[in-house]
């Protein structure tokens, strides 16, 4: 009886021109959408939106100064910064930063700006003057005067001049609405770094606008790697297929799928994160491999049938179920990444999941249609591995796989079983050592020796640094009496700082709005240090706050309070962002918060924001959601495969190797020193999708071969040598496509993803080729002998035979 799959296949092939027109129309529709595609990095979208730390950060984005650029100039010849040459550079750099587009002119701070002041009480009142006059000190007398003034400015000494007096920093905050990261990055390079760096001065620049600038900078490099990857894929395709059809069909179907994938997100209006562009390369490679599997199967059939249309019908019919099942599970793996509440990952899941799903129409339907229209290549025998003399690659792979297959049945199977069990137990034990988080000094997007991360390390080593934990004091309801002019929150801030500073794990430095008040109190009370402490009264705090803000813009204090003094932060600086540091910092702060309380009459204390908290938010999310994603994937695979093979055993049998692959991936990561983080979160899901794809193809082929041989060993031998060849090619082509990213990308994010994708493909290939047949051999499940499999590839080609020889 003709199956529905066969009737559908025949219908499609009989109406192949109409089908092509439908494909063309859809492709045009999606192609139009491509013009709306936007490649854009949104850093806040890399953060898990539901995590309380991220919500705190989004409610108070100005704390932790994400839009602030920090420039450090360091004297390298042993001199201090107190010389005319260096101070002139600081003056010039400060003025030049003010020329960069989007800078907030009110928020530029260095030892040369009017905001860096010293104050002294005189008989005539408080005299507050800038550290530097209307020009940088040029003479000895001017320099001596400048030094005197610096001594009277404790804030400048703590935060603007390094302890060893060899470095100073300039900070500039940008206005988000006017900020163009690329422009800022280029202008900083040109006006600051190139203009002022010399043999005696190092210049280091850090801050989120600069980091984004670096990512944009490397995006240009990505295009080059794309070119190399594309060329490598084409060359490998050519070497493998050695005919026009074998190149044109995979390329056309892959391009069509790519157009649909990009066009889809274009119509959705979602920006694409360039940082995940390595995954589309995987999809292109997977598209190639699906096409190659179809081509090989098509020519196997053609070899018997000698009719292109008929071969296309049969090919489509037999490959449809395993193809669709494999692709859909692959796509579900990608879609399930959206479970993690990280906006970039959600968009990534929709984009890549849809693209992967579109391999169904392009791979399962378009490929046979095109094959039926293309001229017959001359090397059919070589492609299907018959002509050993002229198909070294094909025959060699087949020969090698035949040897591999022997590990999975017969007497060697016992040894293989022991080895697999031992390795799995070892892998599981190693998996437990897998670290959450992947800290480097600075940004994990870039290599630790990148210019940006070196800058972070340098700034951290000379100043309190850039690794902050922000604890936000947030008003519940705004009243005329501003929160940071009230005694209770101000004294609670001070108490929090005191507790944290005296804990077993004190931060390098702490700062809050409360820190500015005693100095103002002292100065405005006459200058005697005994007047520094504040009375515990709203009136005293209000007076001191008024003194701090007297004659200045609240923006000068935007790092510690918002514009209206209704919310403030206590900033804690830590020496690095290693996980041990993060854990200890959070523990000590939580203990401090237990003491001071988090819920008060008119305000609450929220933990937290800053690089430390945001890093932890990602790690928490990755740690939790990897299990959700894994669990959901297992469930989906179990249900779909059990249904397809009409056997729960089949579902379990397919789940074992993919989870085993996941264990080995984790083990590899432990040995590579790579932790689980947002870069690596999608890899496990992608890996399982890939692994199940392999498993389904191979298991289906084993079932098919079993129908003929009625012998598990022979079925395994034949299946591994045929379908295993396609799996081998798939893994190889993905490896060729993605490996250059690891070696060439200066974005660590891409390199990490690339390397792990390669690892996951290799592990899955080996597991699929060895463990799937081994399990069949050991379990000898009944469904293998069933003739009623949804995914069975079995077809009696003799019914259609019109040609030379038979495979069997």
């Amino acid at each position: 009886m003709e199956t529905a799959r066969y009737r559908l296949s025949r219908y499609v092939i009989h109406h192949r021109w109409a089908s092509l027109l439908v494909f063309l129309a859809l492709t045009i529709f999606f192609a139009v959408g491509i013009s709306r595609v936007e490649l854009k990095t949104i850093f806040s979208d890399l953060l898990p939106s539901t995590h309380p730390f991220v919500q705190t950060y989004k409610d108070h984005p100005n704390f932790g100064n994400p839009l602030t650029v920090t420039v450090m100039i360091k004297r390298t010849d042993g001199e201090s910064i107190y010389n005319p040459e260096t101070l002139q550079k600081v003056w010039d750099m400060t003025r030049n930063i003010d020329l960069i587009a989007g800078v907030d002119h009110d928020q530029i701070l260095s030892i040369t700006t009017e905001k860096a002041r010293y104050a002294q009480a005189t008989p005539f009142g408080i005299d507050s003057q800038p550290l530097m006059g209307d020009h940088s000190p040029q003479t000895e007398a001017e320099m001596a005067e400048f030094l005197e003034r610096v001594k009277k400015s404790p804030g400048s000494r703590a935060f603007l001049i390094s302890h060893d007096e060899k470095a100073t920093i300039i900070q500039a905050t940008f206005i988000e609405r006017l900020l163009d990261y690329g422009v800022v990055f280029n202008e900083i390079q040109e006006k600051i770094i190139d203009a002022e760096r010399d043999d005696a001065h190092e210049i280091h620049v850090a801050g989120q606008p600069v980091l984004t600038g670096w990512v944009y900078f490397y995006e240009k490099q990505m295009l080059q790697i794309f070119g190399i990857t594309g060329a490598a894929l084409l060359i490998s395709l050519f070497l493998y297929m050695r005919n026009v059809v074998g190149i044109v069909v995979p390329v056309v179907t892959s391009v069509v799928a790519a157009i649909w994938g990009f066009g889809f997100v274009g119509w959705l209006g979602d920006p694409i994160e360039p940082l995940i562009m390595v995954v589309p390369i995987l999809l292109v490679a997977r598209s190639f491999s699906h096409a190659v599997q179809f081509i090989e199967r098509y020519y196997e059939i053609y070899y018997h049938v000698q009719d292109k249309k008929k071969s296309a019908e049969i090919c489509m019919s037999v490959m449809m179920a395993p193809g669709i099942l494999g692709i859909v599970t692959d796509a579900i793996g990608l879609f399930l990444i959206a479970i993690a509440p990280i906006p970039t990952m959600e968009r990534f899941a929709v984009f890549c999941g849809f693209w992967a799903l579109m391999l169904v129409p392009t791979g399962v339907f378009l490929t046979p249609i095109l094959l039926s229209m293309m001229p017959k290549p001359k090397n059919v025998n070589q492609i299907i591995g018959l002509d050993g003399d002229h198909a070294l690659i094909h025959a060699g792979i087949k020969h090698m796989l035949q040897k591999v297959s022997k590990l999975s049945f017969g007497p060697p199977a016992k040894i293989t079983t022991v080895v697999v069990i031992v390795l799995s137990v070892f892998g599981l034990s190693k998996m437990l050592e897998l670290k959450i988080g992947n800290p480097v000094a600075g940004s994990n997007l870039l290599w630790s020796d990148s210019e940006y991360n070196v800058a972070i390390a340098e700034i951290n080593s000379h100043f309190p640094g850039l690794n902050t934990l922000e604890i936000i004091f947030e008003v519940k309801e705004q009243t005329q009496q501003r929160l940071l002019k009230q005694a209770d929150p101000i004294f609670k801030m001070t108490e929090l700082q005191r507790i944290v500073e005296s804990s077993d794990f004190p931060p390098v430095a702490t700062l809050s709005f409360a820190d500015y008040l005693p100095e103002a109190n002292r100065l405005f009370s006459g200058g005697n240090p005994k007047w520094a402490p504040l009375d515990h009264s709203d009136m005293a705090v209000q007076a001191a706050s008024g003194a701090v803000l007297f004659g200045t813009s609240p923006k000068a204090f935007s790092h510690v309070t918002d514009f209206v003094q209704q919310n403030g932060t206590v900033s804690l600086w830590y020496k690095d962002n290693k996980q041990e540091t993060v854990d200890a910092a959070l523990e000590s702060v939580r203990a401090a918060l237990d003491e001071i309380g988090i819920d008060h009459d008119n305000y609450r204390v929220r933990l937290g924001s800053g690089t430390i908290a945001l890093q932890q938010s990602i790690n928490d999310t990755v740690d939790l959601y990897q299990w959700y994603i894994l669990g959901a994937l297992n469930l989906v695979i179990l249900i779909s495969c059990s249904w397809a093979y009409r056997s729960l055993v089949a579902g379990v049998l397919l789940l074992i190797p993919v989870n085993m692959s996941n264990v080995f991936l984790a083990m590899s990561m432990v040995y590579m020193g790579v932790g689980l983080d947002v870069n690596t979160l999608p890899i496990a899901a992608i890996g399982i999708g890939v692994g199940i794809d392999y498993g389904i193809y191979l298991l289906s082929r084993i079932c098919e071969e079993y129908q003929g041989f009625k012998d598990y060993g022979k079925a395994i031998y034949a299946a591994v040598a045929t379908t295993g060849k396609a799996i081998f090619f798939t893994a190889a082509i993905v490896l060729i496509g993605i490996l250059p990213w690891y070696f060439m990308s200066e974005l660590k994010f891409l390199a990490d993803m690339g390397l792990l994708l390669v690892m996951v493909m290799l592990i899955n290939m080996v597991i699929a080729l060895i463990v799937v047949p081994l399990l069949v051999w050991l379990i000898k499940p009944k469904f293998v002998s069933s003739e009623d499999l949804l995914v069975g590839e079995g077809v009696d080609l003799s019914e259609y035979a019109g040609g030379e020889e038979s495979l069997k």
């Binding site: 020329l99 009110d106 009017e114 209307d134 405005f524 007297f550 514009f563 209206v564 003094q565």
Partner: protein
């Protein structure tokens, strides 16, 4: 028969020709100043197209019309770039008023009379300061250069007498609006300015004896809310315009005076205000601390020169007209009129090595030398801030605020100060009084002792 010479483009060609030749006298059909001196009626100095918006726009805009985003393109060239942005992007509306042709409505009477009386007597000395041409003594009152020939002369007119009164005490309501359209800060404040030379209403002559080395005393003090009540600033301007004023601040909670850096002109006085001392009257710094004054244009312009005194409203409030911005709280709806001829002048902050601005551009109405438009540019040359002042005779129907001689007073009426880069905005209303009981007053005799000494600002905070 239509006289070709005075066709529609006549004035435009005339102004271009004037700029090209460098001839600077005000007036198109005839010189402006003699008309002001003779009858006060300036209408004969300009063709109808410069005194009637309907004629200028060929009927597209009429007196009484509201200008908003729908029709602003017709008058785009007649407003400053910030006002254009406010109308197109923030929902601002302005109402078109008739052009004032009676010059007496554009000045306090004493100042106008001094200007006419002292015509031709102003000059710059070797240091660049304005002096009496004959004796080299400080200026004697009124506009020193009523028909300015250079940018510096025009600026001197503004700088030498900000409010055109010998003494003025302004009661001011301030609201500071953030980018989200919320009012983030509200202040009540007093502002007092007292000229020491160039006096126009002083029976003893143009100088305040013993203070001839100064130009003015000026103070600001806050009367509400409570957390800033009594906070005050005192500015003492030297006559020598090359020198910075002394700037003192007083914090009542500490009873301490703080001396500020003399060049602190680009910082707000209290949190939230989008106003720097440098912005005051478009000429908030001594004029010789700026330089490279250039007249870069001349022609008609829309500015607020009448109709904004709300004497019939409680405390001269304009709150009923508030509109625009994200919460409808940014702008007063005010009258703008076609000013027949303005000088467009640019200057650079040459005396401020750390100035965050690269230049200011100011539109001066030649009828009364009032700055009716003012914008600054950052050092990249990007538009940054504006300080729009509206002026008005304090007369509405039968209501009037009159001086000692019974003439209606003239003063500023409102200010819109806008930082277009951060989109922060301040609006000031010139009120009748503010919390604490301070009342607007002109030419009061005790202002110096009450508001303009260090002892006085200490007392204000007690």
């Amino acid at each position: 028969m239509h006289i070709k010479k005075y066709d529609f483009d006549y004035s435009r060609r005339f102004f271009m020709d004037k700029m090209a030749k460098g001839t600077m006298g005000a007036g198109v059909l005839t010189s402006l100043m003699p008309l002001i001196g003779n009858t006060g009626d300036i209408s004969k100095a300009y063709p109808e197209e410069l005194t009637n918006i309907e004629a200028f726009t060929k009927g597209k805009v009429k007196t009484g019309d509201i200008i908003d985003a729908n029709n602003v393109e017709y008058i785009k060239d007649l407003i400053d770039p910030v006002a254009y942005l406010q109308i197109t992007q923030m929902g601002r509306r302005i109402r078109i008023a008739p052009t004032t042709t009676d010059a007496t409505e554009l000045f306090p009477r004493d100042y106008l009379e001094a200007t006419l009386r002292n015509q031709g007597k102003g000059a710059f000395d070797a240091n660049g300061n304005v002096v009496h041409k004959l004796d080299g003594k400080p200026w004697i009152g009124g506009a020193a250069f009523p028909d300015p020939q250079t940018g510096l002369e025009a600026f001197a007119n503004v700088t030498m007498s900000w409010g055109r009164h010998d003494t003025a005490v302004y009661a001011i309501e301030d609201n500071d609006i953030g980018p989200d359209g919320d009012i983030e800060y509200s202040y009540n404040l007093g502002w007092c300015e007292k000229n020491t030379v160039g006096l126009v209403s002083n029976p003893d002559g143009p100088y305040w004896e013993g203070h001839e080395d100064k130009l003015r005393y000026q103070s600001v003090w806050f009367t509400a809310p409570n957390d800033v009540k009594g906070t005050s600033f005192l500015n003492i301007w030297k006559y020598d315009q090359r020198e910075f004023p002394d700037l003192f601040g007083y914090l009542p909670a500490f009873k301490r005076v703080r001396r500020f850096p003399t060049n602190q002109r680009f910082e707000p006085l209290v949190p939230g205000i989008t106003f720097f001392l440098s912005d005051a009257w478009g000429a908030g710094d001594p004029m010789l601390t700026w330089g490279n004054y250039k007249i870069i244009g001349r022609g008609p312009f829309l500015g607020s020169q009448s109709g904004t005194w709300q004497g019939d409203q409680e405390n001269w409030s304009k709150d009923a007209t508030l509109h625009g911005g994200k919460k409808g709280l940014n702008f007063f709806e005010v009258d703008f009129q076609l000013c027949p001829e303005v000088l467009v002048i640019e200057a650079e902050p040459v005396g401020f090595p750390r100035a965050p601005v690269s230049k200011k551009r100011i539109w001066l109405d030649v009828r009364n030398m009032a700055p009716i438009g003012y914008v600054t540019y950052d050092r990249r040359g990007e538009l940054w801030r504006s300080f729009e002042v509206g002026y008005s005779q304090q007369k509405k129907g039968d209501l009037a605020n009159v001086d000692a001689k019974g003439n209606a007073e003239w003063s500023w009426s409102y200010v819109h100060a806008h930082d277009v880069q951060t989109n922060r905005f301040s609006r000031f209303n010139h009120a009748k009084s503010v919390k604490g009981g301070l009342q607007t007053a002109f030419d009061t005799e005790d202002a110096y002792d009450k508001y303009l000494t260090i002892q006085a600002i200490r007392r204000l905070g007690s």
